[in-house]
């Protein structure tokens, strides 16, 4: 198994296809074997697959778990006593949430790798930071929601920090104005969840008719477009509208999930999501789970070398996406770049049981 200190200094977008293939295959095979030995449920799944953990295969041919499995089972590859953090996906009331168990090592590695990836976009210098959310999210520190974890994770990039929303989810203009005054002329780092930014920042700002100059701002946001799709807001609209109301021009979306915190996929200046060397996306054909060609749509599998305390290193998501290219994005970053095209739909599943109708 790798030592994080050996790999964290490899620049995150530096390996070409062949090198990355070797790098990921080695570490992901090691993890597969490790989880096979450590997690009884994972072991049973691989036995039934059936998959021989001792064979050398490319990371693209390793078994993957459906991401929803973490909502039904508490999958761990460490003893309970070493769990330092439990992270839950944010779900609406009544929905099942993912439960992810972190030990000290995995939690630390997540932070280190996240830092490496984000620094590639905003630089390694800490900046004054505006969190486009409310402090209330962090109240219960024991129960880490995806939102809380995200905010804490990204807070390491901030020097002086402020929350843009008060506990009632209203924009705190007074504090914001003072903050911007204090840091005038400096670059400002903004962070938030896509839906929160749209619903509670953008919309409120429009309503208030107040002027806010964020021309020196760099916004990083993620968390999914599901709710915005209903309002017909896509990435382009999102960017254009924010520019309109507060002159914010540097806006980067990211794709990531609570099941693989740390290895996020950041959007570059050309609007492409990029896979760093620590992780990758594989687009699979639902019909046979084979990998589709560049440019073809399919189910997104995400692999990451970070999950060690739980068997989440290879996960089949319920998102669909397209690989746009590899090693040749005009931004200069190596590795695959892709776009997320949506979430698979339950469509019309026929049958007399109502089980499936209510599940989706």
């Amino acid at each position: 198994m790798y030592d994080i200190s050996d790999i964290q200094n490899i620049p995150p977008f530096s390996l070409g296809r062949e090198q990355k293939e070797l790098f990921l295959s080695k570490h992901l095979r090691d993890l597969t074997l490790y989880h096979y030995q450590q997690c009884p449920e994972y072991r049973r799944i691989l036995d039934a697959w059936p998959f021989d953990v001792n064979v050398d295969v490319s990371y693209k041919n390793l078994p993957f778990l459906p991401v929803r499995l973490f909502k039904e089972y508490e999958l761990k590859s460490v003893d309970e006593q070493y769990v330092v953090k439990q992270m839950n996906s944010s779900g609406t009331t009544g929905q099942q949430v993912s439960k992810i168990f972190l030990d000290k090592e995995t939690a630390t590695n997540q932070t280190k790798i996240l830092t490496k990836i984000v620094s590639d976009f905003i630089g390694s210098k800490r900046l004054p930071m505006i969190i486009l959310d409310t402090r209330a999210v962090l109240k219960d520190r024991n129960l880490f929601s995806a939102r809380g974890a995200g905010i804490l994770g990204y807070s390491i990039f901030g020097s002086d920090k402020i929350y843009a929303l008060d506990e009632e989810m209203c924009i705190d203009f007074e504090s914001l104005d003072a903050f911007l005054e204090k840091h005038s002329g400096e670059d400002i780092f903004l962070f938030g969840f896509t839906f929160m930014v749209w619903q509670h920042f953008y919309k409120e700002l429009v309503k208030s008719r107040k002027l806010l100059d964020l021309s020196k701002g760099i916004l990083i946001h993620g968390g999914g477009w599901k709710k915005l799709v209903d309002e017909a807001v896509d990435n382009t609209t999102f960017k254009a509208r924010l520019k309109d109301v507060c002159n914010l021009t540097k806006i980067y979306n990211f794709y990531g999930m609570v099941e693989q915190v740390g290895t996020i996929y950041m959007e570059c200046e050309f609007g492409h999501l990029h896979a760093p060397i620590f992780s990758d996306v594989i687009i699979r054909n639902p019909k046979d789970f084979s990998e589709v060609n560049i440019g073809e749509e399919g189910l997104i599998e995400v692999v990451s070398i970070l999950p060690k305390s739980y068997p989440g290193h290879a996960l089949l998501t319920e998102d669909s996406g397209i690989i746009l290219g590899e090693d040749n994005c005009p931004c200069g970053r190596k590795g695959r770049y892709f776009s997320v095209t949506g979430r698979i739909k339950s469509a019309e599943i026929r049958g007399c049981s109502d089980t499936y109708a209510t599940k989706y």
């Binding site: 459906p66 639902p286 026929r350």
Partner: protein
């Protein structure tokens, strides 16, 4: 005491439109297999088959054929042969609640209610289906004809959302029989609305079905494609989500024949699914989920290596008791090689509905059911016939159950 009728404007649909719902509770029954009803159904059938879009939907065609005079007369004849001495009338008013995700079910339920001699209130699926639109619009057309005026007081179709419990409350308050199709959850919800003390429910809950194949016979089958076609229709046609669709395939016979039979059978099924079955992404992911669940709960199960996700086969080395909780969809099968049919008896619960078979004679099946005093398995049909609707369903003779016997000494 009948509660107040909810506001009519909150109904999404009412057929026929001029129905006076407020008087519906006064409807009176007629006798079973009334000739007017049979003629009316035949008229409905003819108009359905003449509908330009009908042929696109095999389930609509099957239904249209099922309600033809020839077919219904056969049931009528059987009925009056069996029940010669009694006087019967429908029970009165039957309130049918169709499942939200099967388009055609409500129509069969309605037909049975009519054949038993009842006035019928049918809650049609709240989800939109082209099949439902065809059935309803043709029905409305047919009812326009003055010839069927007598039918007007005997049937009404309504549509309203899941959340409008006041309608369910109201219809329940005066029905004589309530028929609830659909999953366990729907049933639980509906049962919260009280019915009069002498009324009763017929509930069709979630069921589990299996298929038993005698390999010694199957290896001699000259037309494997026909067997595979039958199995395909039993399963993939409704995404293996109908309660009649088998989820467990039990192989009988000697080991050598089982191996040969399995290979030839699945090849033939694969040939059809390749051409005709479109596995949607949700189903592919769901099958992977079910696979993981099953692997976690049963440490002996192994997946048969497969080329693609369309046919997932899980080899069982023993029959676990919780098999019915492992329910895949869109082509997910557990397989078990048994030395004889009796081995299955230990896992049969009340949840078991249809046993489809190949190469086994009726006596054998009869012996199996009676000898083991089974609490489940309501119907045994040859492969390919699981979706055929019958007036006997889930162990109920529906026409008998929905009618009232009057004795005169």
């Amino acid at each position: 005491m009948i509660p107040m009728q909810p506001n009519i404007d909150t109904l999404d649909l009412l057929i026929p439109r001029d129905t006076h719902l407020e008087f519906f509770y006064q409807a009176r029954p007629i006798g079973p297999y009334d000739t007017t009803i049979i003629d009316f159904l035949d008229a409905w059938s003819k108009r359905l088959l003449a509908h330009p879009e009908c042929r696109v939907y095999p389930d609509v065609v099957t239904f249209a054929f099922w309600i033809r005079k020839g077919n219904i007369r056969r049931f009528r004849q059987e009925f009056f042969q069996k029940h010669t001495e009694s006087i019967r009338l429908g029970r009165g008013i039957v309130f049918h609640i169709a499942p939200s995700n099967v388009p055609i079910n409500f129509a069969y339920s309605l037909v049975i209610g009519l054949l038993a001699g009842n006035a019928n209130i049918v809650k049609i699926p709240s989800k939109a289906f082209p099949q439902v639109d065809i059935l309803c619009s043709v029905l409305e057309d047919v009812l326009q004809n003055a010839e069927w005026n007598a039918l007007k007081g005997l049937l009404v179709l309504v549509k309203y959302g899941r959340t409008k419990k006041d309608w369910t409350d109201w219809f329940s308050s005066f029905c004589d029989v309530r028929v609830v199709w659909g999953g366990d959850q729907t049933i639980e919800d509906v049962l919260k609305s009280p019915i009069p003390p002498r009324s009763f429910d017929i509930c069709f809950a979630d069921r589990y079905s299996i298929c038993v194949i005698n390999s010694d016979e199957l290896v001699q089958e000259p037309d494997m494609h026909a067997v595979a076609r039958g199995f395909y229709n039993d399963t993939y046609l409704l995404d293996q989500n109908a309660c009649t669709a088998p989820h467990l395939v039990v192989w009988l016979g000697n080991k050598k024949n089982i191996t040969i039979a399995k290979a030839r059978f699945w090849d033939a099924v694969n040939e059809i699914t390749n051409k005709e079955y479109n596995l949607i992404a949700v189903a592919a992911v769901e099958k992977l989920m079910v696979f993981c669940r099953e692997a976690i709960s049963d440490s002996t199960v192994i997946r048969e290596p497969v080329e693609d996700n369309t046919i997932i086969r899980m080899n069982l080395t023993e029959l676990p008791n919780n098999l019915t909780s492992v329910r895949g969809m869109g082509g997910y099968f557990n397989e078990y090689e048994a030395s004889c049919i009796d081995e299955i008896a230990q896992i049969v619960t009340r949840k078991f509905q249809t046993l489809s078979y190949y190469g086994i004679n009726k006596q054998e099946i009869q012996q199996f059911i009676l000898n083991h005093r089974l609490v489940g398995i309501d119907r045994c049909v040859p492969i390919g016939k699981t979706l055929d609707f019958d007036v006997v369903w889930d162990g109920w003779d529906l026409v008998i159950t929905m009618s009232r016997m009057v004795t005169i000494l």
